[in-house]
C-alpha cells in the first residue's frame, strides 16, 4: 500500500479532532463553571483551542497531502534538499511570534483579574494546606484572623458565602500544595512560609470539590475537600453554629459525627 504512511498521518488530525468532539458527550469536558469570572478563563481556553486547532488541522492536512503525493513508490527519484528560502523563514518566524505576542497581550486582563487586582475587602478565611488535609480558619465575629474568636475546622468541609466577593489567604504548614477549585477555574500554589491570596465570586449556591493540584507527597490524592457556597444568612448561621460547637464545655454539646 503506497499511501500507508499518508493515511497513518491522516489519523492524527482525525483522532485529535474527534477526541474534542466526543469528549463533552462522555462527560470528560470541563466541570461546571459556577463562578462569576470563570467564563473568562473558559473563553481564553476555547480561543486558544480554536486557534491552535485550526493551525493543527492545516499543518496536519499539509503533511498528509505531501505524504500522499510524494510517496516513495510513485516517486523513485530521491529528494533534493534546498538551502531554504529567506522569505519563508522570516514569515514562519514572525507569524508564530506575532500570534504568541497577541495571546500574551490578550490574556493580560484575565491574569490581572485573577492574580493581581486583589479586592479591598476583609479576608473571608485562611486555608492551610498540610500533608494531607485542608484546614480552614475563619476570622470570627471581629473579622480579624488569629484572635480568640476564630473558627478553626479541620474536616475539609469548607463553607463560603455566595453572591459576594470572597477573599482567601492560602498557606502551607509543610510542603508545596496547590489549592484548586476546578469549578471556579482557580488554582493557587501554596509556598510554605508565604501568604498567597485568592479571590472569587460565586453568584449562586453550590457544592463543589476542592483538590490539591501539586503533588505534595504519597497522600496527595487524600487532600480533598468540599466547598459549599450558600447565601450570607445561611453562611453566618453555619459559622455561628460551628463557633458554638467549638466553644463546647459540656459532653452533651459535643456532637457525634
Amino acid at each position: 500500500m503506497k499511501h500507508f504512511w499518508a493515511l497513518v498521518f491522516l489519523m492524527v488530525p482525525v483522532c485529535g479532532v474527534l477526541t474534542f468532539i466526543i469528549a463533552p458527550h462522555y462527560n470528560v469536558w470541563f466541570p461546571k463553571d459556577i463562578s462569576a469570572n470563570g467564563h473568562v478563563i473558559d473563553h481564553l481556553f476555547m480561543f486558544i483551542l480554536w486557534l491552535t486547532g485550526i493551525i493543527f488541522v492545516a499543518t496536519e492536512g499539509a503533511l498528509f497531502y505531501f505524504a500522499w503525493k510524494y510517496n516513495a513508490r510513485s516517486n523513485p527519484e530521491p529528494v533534493k534538499f534546498s538551502h531554504g528560502s529567506h522569505t519563508l523563514e522570516v514569515v514562519w518566524t514572525i507569524l508564530p511570534a506575532v500570534t504568541l505576542l497577541f495571546i500574551a497581550i490578550y490574556q493580560m486582563n484575565a491574569w490581572a483579574d485573577a492574580k493581581m487586582r486583589r479586592p479591598h475587602i476583609p479576608v473571608t478565611a485562611e486555608i492551610t494546606g498540610r500533608q494531607f488535609n485542608w484546614d480552614v480558619r475563619y476570622p470570627g465575629k471581629d473579622g480579624v484572623l488569629h484572635t480568640p474568636d476564630d473558627i478553626v475546622r479541620t474536616d475539609g468541609d469548607i463553607h463560603f458565602p455566595s453572591g459576594e466577593e470572597v477573599l482567601l489567604i492560602i498557606k502551607s504548614q509543610d510542603v508545596l500544595h496547590s489549592f484548586f477549585l476546578p469549578n471556579i477555574r482557580l488554582k493557587q500554589d501554596v509556598v510554605p512560609g508565604m501568604d498567597q491570596y485568592m479571590w472569587f465570586k460565586v453568584p449562586e449556591p453550590a457544592v463543589v470539590d476542592i483538590v490539591c493540584a501539586e503533588l505534595c507527597g504519597w497522600g496527595h490524592y487524600k487532600m480533598q475537600g468540599r466547598a459549599t457556597f450558600e447565601p450570607r444568612p445561611a453562611f453566618d448561621e453555619w459559622l455561628s453554629q460551628k463557633y458554638t460547637e467549638q466553644e463546647s464545655h459540656r459532653v452533651a454539646e459535643a456532637p457525634i459525627q
Binding site: 498540610r130 479541620t154 508565604m194 501568604d195 504519597w218 467549638q246 463546647s248 464545655h249 459532653v251 459525627q257
Partner: protein, 474 residues
C-alpha cells in the same frame, strides 16, 4: 522468539530470565545454569514457566495475612509450635483480613467489618469495598500495627492499634475510647499530623472503619494475652489447643477475651463529665476570661500541675524532650534488651576461658542459646520503626491534635494522654481524688486557649506576600 540455538549468547538468557524473578517462587531459575548448546530444551521449559507464571503467578498475589507481633513473640520466647497455635486460635476467633469474623463474644458488628475489610474494589452500583485497605492500611498496616508502607516517612508514626491504647478520648486515663471519640478522629483528622479528615465519606463508611479499628485492637490485645499466657505458663512441649481442651477454651474466652471486650463495651460509662458547677459560664467578659487564664498560668508554672516541666517555661514544648511514648518505649526497651544480650554473651565468653569440663559445656550451651535469641531479636529490630522521643506540644502554635474545644482540652488535662508522658491531673476513676480540682483544670484550659494569642506567639500570624505588585488589601 526466533533465537537460533547456535547463536545463543549470554545476553539472551539474561533477558529471558530476568522477567521471571518477580513471579517465580524463590528457587533459582533453571535458566541461570545453562550454557551454549544445552540451551534449547531447558530454555523452552523456562519460557513455558515464564508463560505459566505470567498468567498464574503474577496476576494473583497471596491474600494478605495478619502477622503476629514478633517483638512480643521474641521477647517472650514463644516456642514455634505455640506461635502456630496462637495464629490458629486468632484465625478461628477473628478470621483473616479478607474474611473477618465478628465472634459473638466480641460484640463486634459483622456487617460493618465486611464493609471495611477485604480487597479494594467498587461494585456496579458504585459502592466502595475494602475501605480499610483503601484509606488506612498504607499507614496503619494490614494487622493494625501502625507500620504500613508509608509509616516510615511519617512523624509522628501512625498509631499501632494492637495494644488497644488511644490518645485522644473522653474517658478516664486507663479506659478505652468511646465510639464517638474514634468517630471524631476519623471525621476531623488530627491536625499537626498526617492523619487527614475523612469527613467526606458517608457516615456508614466511617462507622465501619471505626468498627474495624476496634476489631484490630481487640485482636491485638487478645494476641498479647495469648502470648503472655503461653510464655508464662507453658513449657515449649505443652499442647495449647482450645479445640480439644474445654479448659483451655474457657480460659481463652472467659479469662482473656472477656475483660478485653468489657473494657471496650464499658468505655461509654467511663466518660469524664465535668461537674456542671465547675464549668465557667458562657457569658464571661474578656476580663473574666483573662483573670481565669492568669490563674491557669500560675498553675502552669506551679509545682502542683507542673506543666512547665515538659511544655517548657516558654510553652513552646521545649521542656523535657527525652521521654518516650508507650509504643516507642516498647521498641526502645526491646533494642536495649537486645544490646544487653550482646554484653551477656561477652561475659559468658570470658567465663568460658576459665571454665573446664562440664562447666565449659554448659557455658557453651548458654552462649549458643543467647546467640540464637540475639539473632532473632536483631531480625525483629530490622522490621521496627526506629524509636523517637515524645516531644511535648508547642502550645503557642494553636494546633491541638486532640481537638481545640474547651471540653477536649479539659479531657486532655484531666485524664492525661494515654500512652504518652502527659500525666492525668484529674481523678483516675470516678470519685477518686485528682491532683487538680475541676475548677483548676478549667483555668488551665483558659490559659492554654489564650497562649496562641499572646504577643509572644504572634510573629507566626502573618507570612510575607509573594509580590509587591499585589496591592495590599488592608
Amino acid at each position: 522468539m526466533g533465537i537460533d540455538k547456535e547463536t545463543t549468547r549470554q545476553e539472551d538468557k539474561e533477558t529471558w530470565c530476568d522477567p521471571v524473578s518477580p513471579c517465580l517462587p524463590v528457587s533459582p531459575s533453571p535458566c541461570l545454569a545453562m550454557r551454549g548448546r544445552e540451551f534449547s530444551a531447558t530454555a523452552w521449559l523456562c519460557i513455558g514457566l515464564v508463560g505459566v507464571a505470567a498468567f498464574v503467578g503474577c496476576g494473583k498475589a497471596d491474600p494478605p495475612q495478619f502477622r503476629l507481633n514478633m517483638m512480643n513473640v521474641v521477647a517472650k520466647q514463644v516456642a514455634p509450635q505455640h506461635q502456630q497455635a496462637i495464629a490458629n486460635i486468632l484465625g478461628a476467633m477473628f478470621g483473616t483480613p479478607d474474611k473477618p469474623y465478628a465472634m459473638p463474644e466480641t460484640g463486634l458488628d459483622q456487617k460493618k467489618l465486611n464493609m471495611a475489610a477485604g480487597p479494594v474494589w467498587s461494585d456496579q452500583a458504585g459502592e466502595d469495598h475494602g475501605l480499610y485497605r483503601r484509606h488506612c492500611a498504607h499507614c496503619h498496616g494490614i494487622s493494625g500495627d501502625g507500620h504500613g508502607p508509608t509509616a516510615d516517612i511519617l512523624n509522628p508514626y501512625p498509631r499501632d492499634y494492637r495494644p488497644g491504647v488511644f490518645k485522644f478520648k473522653s474517658t478516664y486515663t486507663s479506659a478505652e475510647p468511646t465510639e464517638a471519640d474514634l468517630l471524631r478522629i476519623v471525621h476531623d483528622g488530627i491536625p499537626g499530623t498526617a492523619m487527614p479528615s475523612f469527613a467526606l465519606l458517608p457516615p456508614d463508611q466511617r462507622a465501619a472503619l471505626v468498627e474495624y479499628v476496634k476489631y484490630l485492637s481487640i485482636r491485638g490485645e487478645m494476641e498479647k494475652a495469648l502470648e503472655d499466657y503461653v510464655a508464662d505458663n507453658l513449657d515449649p512441649g505443652d499442647k495449647f489447643d482450645p479445640a480439644s481442651n474445654a479448659e483451655t477454651k474457657k480460659l481463652i474466652l472467659d479469662d482473656m477475651l472477656k475483660p478485653i471486650v468489657e473494657a471496650w463495651q464499658t468505655a461509654k460509662d467511663q466518660v469524664i463529665v465535668p461537674d456542671e458547677k465547675s464549668i465557667p459560664p458562657d457569658n464571661r467578659t474578656v476580663a473574666q476570661i483573662a483573670d481565669s487564664a492568669d490563674k491557669g498560668r500560675e498553675l502552669f508554672y506551679g509545682t502542683q500541675a507542673n506543666c512547665v516541666k515538659c511544655h517548657g517555661p516558654t510553652a513552646l514544648g521545649d521542656g523535657q524532650q527525652d521521654d518516650y511514648s508507650d509504643w516507642n518505649k516498647a521498641t526502645h526497651d526491646f533494642i536495649q534488651a537486645t544490646n544487653a544480650k550482646l554484653a551477656e554473651m561477652e561475659a559468658l565468653r570470658k567465663d568460658l576461658t576459665k571454665a573446664k569440663g562440664d562447666d565449659a559445656e554448659h557455658i557453651k550451651e548458654q552462649i549458643r542459646s543467647t546467640q540464637k535469641e540475639y539473632k532473632e531479636r536483631e531480625a525483629v529490630i530490622a522490621t521496627l520503626l526506629p524509636p523517637r522521643h515524645a516531644i511535648p506540644r508547642n502550645l503557642r502554635e494553636g494546633i491541638l491534635r486532640g481537638g481545640r474545644r474547651p471540653i477536649d482540652i479539659f479531657w486532655r488535662i484531666s485524664a492525661g494522654i494515654r500512652g504518652m508522658p502527659m500525666p492525668a491531673s484529674g481523678p483516675a476513676a470516678p470519685g477518686a481524688p485528682g491532683t487538680l480540682t475541676q475548677e483548676q483544670i478549667w483555668q488551665l484550659v483558659d490559659y492554654v486557649q489564650s497562649l496562641p494569642f499572646e504577643p509572644a506567639s504572634q510573629p507566626l500570624k502573618k507570612g510575607p506576600v509573594n509580590s509587591s505588585a499585589v496591592s495590599t488589601g488592608e
